[in-house]
Amino acid sequence: MALMKHLNGLVDVDRGIISREIFVNEDIYRAEQEQVFARAWLFIGHESQIRNPGDYLVSSMGEESVILCRDRSGRVHVFLNSCRHRGMKVCRYDEGNTIEFQCPYHGWSYATDGTLVGVPFAKDAYGAQLDRSQWGLIEVARLEVYKSTVWATWDRSAPSFLDYIGGYKVYLDLLLDAWDGREGGTEAIGGIHKWLVPCNWKFPAENFSGDRYHGVSHRSVDMVGIGPSGQSRRDMGERNQARWLDVSFPELGHSMIAFLRPHDAPLAPAYQDAPVVADYFRRCEEERKRRRGDSWRLFGGPGTMFPNTSPLARQPRTLAVWHPRGPHQTEVWRWYFVDADAPPEVKDFLRHYYIRYSGPSGLTEQDDMENWNYAHKASRGTIARQHPYNYEMGLGRSTRAFEDHGLTLPGAITDVTVANASEHNQRGFYRRWRQFMEAASWDELR
């Protein structure tokens, strides 16, 4: 395959060398849409956004608009948001409740289960020609609801969602489980941040995969202090005594920065400026200890689930999707999570913290966007493209047999407590990316 040979010189994960071409090249971007986005499991939305029959949320899979919808009988579907007749977007609302999706162009209408139910002048114009059963909305090949999050893929031969996340489940659960250790139990706060960033989608994806190195980016927010107790950007005390781990599943492409609290330390005080919140988290963590045994000590941070979904498993607890919008632009969607049964004061406190931390108005992330913007821009030139990026940090330091006082963890893990950072997770991401780009089908990706 021509593309394969091409990538050989571009992505050398073993040496930690990656060409700028994969970020700025139009042909590679086009190939990504087929090789990566048409095959992988992608995040669609949260069940709490489609509670009732007829509820829908318009979302995105790669470049394309899709409708997440609960049909009249309660089943969840994901459809391509495009009419079968001439392609008109059948739903241009962001969310709502409906009996059917009527196309504004010539009026074909589709039931909430995707069936073509209405065709104007059907009898006279088409006679017996039109077989409606063949012309329903295009539906994803597979869909899975996992702890209230909805995921889908266009590829029928893709593995099940649980096989797709594999050992990463432990880390994804750190976002989706309640803080006190109960399975599930989180909800999305109303409102999805949506904004455009002028950079390739892989800049934010790899940054979230495990970039603990970019402290300089955020020094200004650390100086002014927006943390829950008014200091730095995240001033939860427990973080200071933790062991920091870059966790990667290179064979799957998923990763997270996790932290492990000491096995013998008492619960560290956190959220001291807000007694109700401090009390809530202390009670949750006592409960978590009882429920999970020694693995209570594992907490999550930012991560990336291949290809473009980034769970952030600590406060601010969020899930971001980096939608490709051409090689040089990304549309970010971000959902914000809280424990569904947290007291209102706690939810309100966290919501304020989330808004001042994250997204275009967040004091922290504003500086990320500036860096991704101009890193991308300065990599587009003819000369720039000839010089690859360096991903050598922490090469050869990971272990598949991580253990801490009897607690073992899945994944290839690099301890970065002392080193502060490695690029282990980023290498894992690009290893999988290259496999997707080279593979002819899922058979070669298992």
């Binding site: 927010v221 002014v224 927006i226 808004i355 001042r356 275009p360 108005s361 966007m369």
Partner: protein, 177 residues
């Protein structure tokens, strides 16, 4: 209120809003903060595409949902301090920002709020930002303000900013409206 009083009030309100815009455009952020009451509410919802007869769902809700801004003076002050660190890369080098404020309407004046007279004012904004080389954002929308009379002058007690965009077309919101 007589016609003359109404005109004078309108004049006074416009002068306040233009002076505020001037401080922002001249990057005199600390002086700008002094124009805000200590209990100021600064709110900017996100907007959804919804059917024309379901407008109650168009905006994210203050105090409930995730929005672009939903904060008071403490966070606004930290935003200013961050810009003034000189290492807030999203505003370093500083952007060139211009606030065009127009369509000023004084909607009503009366003794409201905890401390004296508050005046409801509506206006339009066009905020132009240009930074580094060619990066340019134009953000247009409406503002609904509550101005409070303090020591003979005005202070801003509340601002609701309604941006006429759904997906935000700017990469960040490092400036004030």
């Amino acid at each position: 209120m007589s016609d003359v009083e109404r005109l004078l009030l309108r004049q006074e309100v416009e002068e306040f809003l233009y002076r505020e815009a001037e401080l922002l455009d001249e990057r005199r952020y600390e002086e700008w903060l002094e124009l805000l009451t200590d209990d100021v509410r600064y709110f900017m919802p996100m907007r959804r595409n919804v059917p024309h007869d379901e407008t109650e769902r168009e905006f994210t809700r203050e105090g409930v949902d995730i929005s672009w801004f939903d904060e008071g003076k403490d966070t606004l002050t930290r935003r200013v301090r961050q810009i003034l660190t000189g290492i807030h890369w999203a505003e370093e080098p500083p952007s060139r920002i211009c606030h065009m404020i127009s369509n000023v309407q004084v909607l009503g004046a009366g003794p409201a709020g905890p401390s004296g007279t508050e005046i409801a004012v509506k206006s339009r904004f066009l905020v132009y930002r240009n930074r580094v080389e060619t990066e340019t954002d134009v953000l247009v929308g409406k503002r609904e303000d509550l101005l409070r009379r303090v020591n003979g002058g005005f202070k801003l007690a509340r601002r609701r900013i309604v941006l006429d965009q759904s997906v935000l077309l700017a990469k960040n919101l490092t400036f004030f409206f």
